[in-house]
């Protein structure tokens, strides 16, 4: 591409002109930094030094907040794994009811006994789906604080995922009559419905916590990197850097390209 194929907007042109003017300045700043003349020790610049220290402290506060979120995610994961397991057991139980329809009385009685065993397994699984003493499948409630004073938090409400909680009755009459089996099928379908609803609620809670956890991680690393650099802060150097960043961004992205289609249509109204 020939050089005159590149067209610059007036904004970019202005930036480039200013940039040329700041190259000198940057070089001088660089000299000062490398020669060590610039203030960057706590003794020389106590204000910046202690501000930086404040930021490090805040980063560690955030880290403990993040720990809470990580624990919560583990708790929700345990519950969601539990739900998957229980769903499989219920599907197995439904399989038993299907086999029972074509079985003789003796066969039905055996299948009914197996059905009851599955219900016991559901109860065991629901009991064992806890994480560090918190079990969302045993009606425990989990509160995740996103900030220190707890004014912004998320409460995940558990439910009873045992066979009793899911209202699945034990087999009746050794499944002698078809209506006995019908009753079991109705219970199982309702239980599956409940589990699906709970699973989707858990999933959306999980994504809320995960988004915030990730955001907090970024906040921590920003504070740490920033605090390290703060003692080197130099107004002139910052101005020059910012100008370069502006030019770099202008060549790379337009503001509108950052927006989704839906947001773009709204932005066009203004």
């Amino acid at each position: 591409m020939a050089i005159n194929d590149i067209s610059l907007t007036s904004g970019m042109r202005n930036n480039l002109v200013s940039l040329q003017g700041t190259v000198d300045l940057l070089n001088r700043t660089q000299d000062r930094l490398s020669s060590g003349k610039r203030v960057n020790s706590p003794l020389d610049d106590p204000t910046n030094y202690f501000v930086a220290k404040d930021h490090m402290n805040r980063a560690s506060d955030l880290a403990s907040r993040k720990d809470g979120m990580s624990e919560a995610i583990q708790g929700v994961k345990a519950a969601s794994t539990g739900i998957d397991g229980i769903t499989k057991l219920i599907e197995a139980a439904k399989g038993l009811t299907q086999s029972a329809r074509s079985a003789n009385t003796e066969g039905r009685s055996t299948l009914a006994a197996q059905f009851d065993t599955l219900l016991d397994q559901i109860d065991d699984l629901a009991q064992d789906s806890g994480y560090k003493g918190l079990n969302l499948l045993d009606s425990d409630t989990l509160t995740v604080d996103f900030n220190e004073d707890g004014s912004n938090s998320l409460t995940v409400t558990g439910f009873d995922a045992s066979s009793t909680g899911l209202a699945i009755a034990a087999s009746v009459n050794n499944w002698v009559a078809d209506t006995d089996i019908d009753g079991a099928v109705t219970d199982l379908d309702a239980a599956l419905q409940t589990l699906r609803g709970q699973a989707s609620t858990l999933a959306s809670n999980m994504s809320v916590i995960t988004i915030r956890q990730e955001f907090t991680t970024n906040m921590i690393s920003t504070l740490q990197t920033g605090a390290d650099k703060l003692t080197l802060a130099d107004m002139n150097e910052e101005g020059a850097n910012m100008l370069m960043l502006q030019t770099r961004q202008q060549l790379a992205t337009t503001a509108l390209s950052l927006a989704s289609q839906a947001a773009q249509s709204v932005m066009r109204l203004f």
């Binding site: 955001f215 906040m219 920003t222 107004m235 910052e238 910012m242």
Partner: protein
């Protein structure tokens, strides 16, 4: 959550309740009180138009604004936001405090306040850019 009270000028436009509605105030001025937390509320004077998002900090404001009016794509906007924060912080470490405030508001879904803080950031940016223009005339060493 405290109520948010806004005084609207005649014919002032604002966004409320998602990326779908833009409401224009009538001919007289009015007051709008938001009792609960609405996902979206931006007034005309607070809207950063695409053509005005020219500097790094203005672009950052723009991204926060997008989080505010388009929560559906939050994850994507968060990613862009952090890339921008890193660039800005790299260029000008003195922005750290305000960047932290903005982030804290975003984390708490208080976008209205996040935008307010972002406006401070733009002012700060103007100040350091101003410094460049002055030092071009004569750099104190």
């Amino acid at each position: 959550m405290m109520a948010l009270k806004l005084t609207l000028k005649p014919h002032e436009r604002f966004l409320i309740g998602g990326a779908v509605t833009a409401i224009t105030n009538g001919s007289s001025s009015g007051e709008l009180i938001i009792e609960n937390r609405v996902p979206i509320l931006i007034r005309e004077k607070d809207i950063m138009r695409t053509q005005d998002a020219t500097s790094p900090c203005r672009k950052l404001y723009f991204i926060v604004q997008l989080m505010y009016l388009d929560e559906q794509n939050l994850v994507e906007y968060h990613r862009t936001y952090w890339n921008m924060v890193k660039d800005i912080l790299e260029a000008a470490p003195s922005t750290l405090q305000i960047l932290d405030q903005i982030s804290e508001h975003i984390l708490n879904s208080r976008y209205y306040y996040a935008l307010k803080a972002a406006r401070e950031l733009i002012k700060h940016e103007e100040k350091i850019m101003q410094g460049i223009k002055q030092s071009e005339a004569g750099v104190p060493c």
